[in-house]
């Protein structure tokens, strides 16, 4: 038994007011579905049912798009940028006011540790709204052309890994540019989106500017296919991203896609080694590895591979896996049974391929979906676990000898979302950054996000950028409106 045992430090659930069931948020109000059905949202750490949620039908999607269109032509599309900005500032402030509530709800619904939702997800979400509020009346400065205009109605489908943050990344720029929104949160994590609808009401956001339609694949398809949607924004798997790209081919619908990744986290022999180990841990075990830009491949210079492996394993033995609502938890639950199954299958494949599997000792709760942080060493480029996105707390370790080899291996993938470089040598950082085919390069850090900093991928990690001045491009058109 460790000398210094941390007693349970649970964050109270009392701050959250869960309703037994939720309708859809259309036209500024919560409303019952027309022809849709209900499904349950559960807490992945305990399998407890949190609430019943509506699966929106295509009739519901029609209504939502209609409400968004009316809001666009009626109020929002005519409103001055300064006034749009004021609404976004209000939303940002309310998110800050209700921060604790959102953080707890996010951890309950998603399974991520409360420390993450409290210290990362919710503050960043509020910051996104704050940043974009200021752009609403400054679009002419954003190098978007002489007369940047909104598209109209934007359809947005977001994933389950950062539910509230992904909502912020989508809605904030869309609204700042003058669009109205129909957004579908992921089917396993709808609750913070539904709470966000309350924030819209508290901010007196005009009806129909934001519409939240919950559901699964069919609802998402209905949005993608809807003729009343001018632009789509999707974050999720590359597979679905390709489906969307095919679905809109030949139409005038625009799309931005933020898809999967298999990022290389590259450690050179002159890396600041203790911080590099932290970077590896942050890269793949933060958010249970449910991160599109996760550093899921460790590319370590062969001369220090053994040392890094030893330090990494020692560091992993202090990771705390457990109740997401415990303030000391580092690694929470896997988001769903389906995801757990995928991770289990792929890691089994890794073993079958001949890689060496290791996990720290840790007790896992009996209920809920859990996976121990796992490290595979002796991984080769051709192994499935070096090529396929696992989207779980699983690290594949490969080695390299020279910067060129590191670059070649890092780029040798259809993905291109992010990469990490660890070295004390500035010129090498900049040279590597030039060579790496990735939309985000983190040097001597990892998984850092900021509303001002554009994020997005190369190749099959998608196209378009979110955040920063560049992220506004997706939400304006400089051509004639339809």
């Amino acid at each position: 038994m460790a000398k210094f045992e941390y007693a349970p430090a649970p964050e109270s659930r009392a701050v959250v007011n869960l309703k037994p069931s939720y309708g859809l948020f259309i036209g500024g109000e919560f409303t019952e579905s027309e022809g849709g059905s209900a499904f349950k949202s559960i807490s992945p750490s305990s399998e407890e049912v949190l609430a019943e949620v509506t699966e929106a039908s295509s009739a519901d999607v029609d209504r939502a798009v209609d409400a968004a269109r009316r809001a666009f032509t009626g109020t929002w599309g005519r409103m001055s940028g300064a006034d749009r900005g004021k609404y976004l500032f209000r939303i940002a402030r309310i998110l800050q006011e209700r921060a604790r509530e959102f953080a707890v709800l996010e951890s309950l619904d998603n399974g991520k540790p409360i420390r993450e939702s409290r210290d990362v997800d919710v503050p960043l979400a509020a910051a996104h709204f704050f940043y974009h509020a200021g752009w609403a009346d400054k679009l002419e400065y954003a190098s978007l052309g002489p007369n940047p205009r909104p598209h109209g109605v934007v359809g947005q489908v977001i994933p389950w890994n950062f539910p509230l943050l992904m909502l912020a990344w989508k809605i904030a720029p869309a609204l700042a540019a003058g669009n109205t929104v129909v957004l579908k949160p992921a089917e396993t994590t709808p609750l913070t989106a539904l709470l966000f609808a309350e924030v819209c009401q508290q901010a007196d956001l005009p009806a129909g500017v934001v519409n939240i339609v919950t559901g699964a694949g069919a609802t998402g398809q209905a949005i993608v296919d809807h003729p009343g949607i001018d632009k789509l924004a999707f974050t999720g798997s590359t597979g679905v991203g390709k489906m969307i790209a095919r679905a809109i081919a030949g139409t005038r619908k625009k799309a931005t896609l933020e898809l999967g990744g298999k990022a290389a986290n590259i450690i050179f022999d002159d890396a600041p080694i203790d911080q590099a180990v932290e970077g590896i841990v942050n890269g793949i075990f933060f958010n249970q590895g449910h991160v599109c830009c996760a550093g899921s491949r460790l590319l370590v210079q062969e001369s220090i591979a053994e040392e890094v492996e030893a330090r990494l394993k020692r560091r992993l033995s202090t990771l705390r896996v457990g109740d997401p609502l415990d303030k000391n938890t580092d690694v929470g639950a896997i988001n769903s049974k389906a995801q757990l199954q995928r991770i289990t299958e792929l890691t089994a494949a890794g073993e079958a391929e001949g890689a060496t599997r290791w996990s720290p000792e840790c007790e896992l709760p009996s209920k809920g979906f859990w996976f121990r942080p796992t490290v595979f060493t002796g991984v080769s480029q051709t192994h499935r676990i070096a090529q396929e996105e696992i989207f779980g707390p699983v690290l594949s370790v490969l080695t390299f000898r020279t910067p060129h080899e590191a670059v070649a291996k890092a780029n040798n993938t259809p993905y291109g979302l992010s990469a990490g470089v660890w070295t004390e040598k500035g010129s090498r950082i900049l040279w590597m950054a030039d060579q790496l085919r990735a939309g985000v390069v983190w040097a001597n850090t990892f998984n850092k996000f900021d509303p001002t900093s554009p994020f997005g991928g190369y190749k099959e990690s998608g196209y378009g950028r979110e955040g920063g001045r560049h992220g506004l491009e997706a939400y304006v058109t400089t051509g004639d409106t339809k």
Binding site: A2, F4, A7, A271, P272, D274, Q275, K327, T445
Partner: protein
């Protein structure tokens, strides 16, 4: 792994250093190569790790344990020009009975005083109280004096009965790259200590960068220090959590390399229980259980003790306490 408390003497330090460096002669150049070959410390990453450790929420039973452990790790300190026998006796009485309303309260590990105050401390503490006497020496706090003076200072303190010596390194020498001089001074002071344990104060606030803290830590361990210590407490910033994390990494890696343990003492600026607990978290998660012991980890502090006592009282009574309920045996009022 050695938790031996047997002192290592200066001659061994030099030959061991030659061995570890793999050189036939210990020169400033070889020391420089070795120290500058240590991995760098990224400031932002280091501070982020410290901040993360600071978010640990230590409650109920673990908080009670942490408070008592922290108390038992304190070097209760008075290092003022205006110190008198009376002040020192008061400090020592406090060390023996931190909280007269609760005799279950543990005693601090040591008192820390100037060398000429040691006899007064010994009068009160005796030889079996379990509270050691640490004395600062080597022209504390500046370290600006000749080697002869510094050694005489050390010997006096040892002769007066000090169990531990807290020395300062020559920061001027360190910052101008004269690592061999720093090595030699530590090794010689260690020799003058006899059986007293040697803590090496690096004055991290003056070293400024984490890279320097790492190098100074390794140099101090190489030269035979039993403890590496952050600060004199006379310079700000003194002990910070990130600096202490770097030092904990150093002793962890030193143990891996040599099989020997070296202690860590953050000193100065640690005033609240909350802060102290963050440091204990850092010890636990960076260096490990072996260091969670007063023999290998100390807090150099004065007002921290009373804050820990206030927290202890709150845990016992359920109500927030106040300064009227903890004794201040050596208030610092000139």
């Amino acid at each position: 792994m050695s938790t031996s408390t047997a002192p290592r003497d200066a001659v061994d330090a030099t030959s061991r250093a030659r061995d570890l460096l793999g050189v036939s002669r210990l020169t400033n150049d070889s020391l420089t190569s070795w120290l500058h070959g240590l991995p760098g410390v990224d400031q932002v990453g280091c501070e982020a790790r410290a901040a993360m450790l600071g978010t640990r929420s230590i409650k109920t039973t673990s908080k009670a344990w942490a408070i008592d452990t922290a108390i038992s790790m304190i070097d209760l300190t008075t290092l003022e020009g205006a110190d008198t026998a009376g002040k020192v006796r008061g400090l020592c009485a406090k060390a023996l009975t931190p909280d007269a309303t609760d005799m279950s309260t543990p005693r601090p590990a040591a008192v820390c005083v100037y060398g000429d105050m040691v006899p007064f401390a010994r009068e009160v503490l005796g030889t079996s109280s379990g509270v050691n006497i640490a004395a600062v020496a080597t022209a504390f706090p500046s370290g600006r004096a000749s080697m002869a003076v510094k050694l005489a200072d050390t010997r006096d303190a040892v002769a007066n009965g000090a169990d531990e010596i807290d020395m300062v390194i020559d920061r001027g020498a360190f910052l101008s790259g004269r690592y061999l001089d720093v090595f030699n001074e530590i090794a010689q002071v260690k020799e003058a200590c006899g059986s007293a344990r040697l803590k090496v104060i690096m004055e991290t606030g003056e070293l400024v960068t984490y890279d320097n803290v790492r190098r100074a830590s390794w140099l101090s361990m190489l030269a035979g220090g039993d403890f590496i210590k952050t600060s004199t407490g006379k310079v700000s910033p003194a002990a910070t959590l990130p600096v202490t994390v770097v030092m904990l990494e150093a002793v962890r890696d030193w143990l891996q390399l040599t099989g020997e343990m070296v202690g860590v003492k953050p000193a100065g600026g640690i005033r609240t229980s909350k802060d102290a607990i963050k440091f204990l978290v850092a010890v636990s998660e960076v260096a490990g259980d072996d260091w969670l012991d007063p023999h290998w980890f100390r807090f150099g502090a004065s007002s921290l003790l009373n804050d820990l006592l206030l927290q202890r009282q709150r845990m016992r009574t359920g109500a927030y306490s106040g300064p009227d309920y903890v004794t201040d045996d050596s208030p610092s009022l000139y």
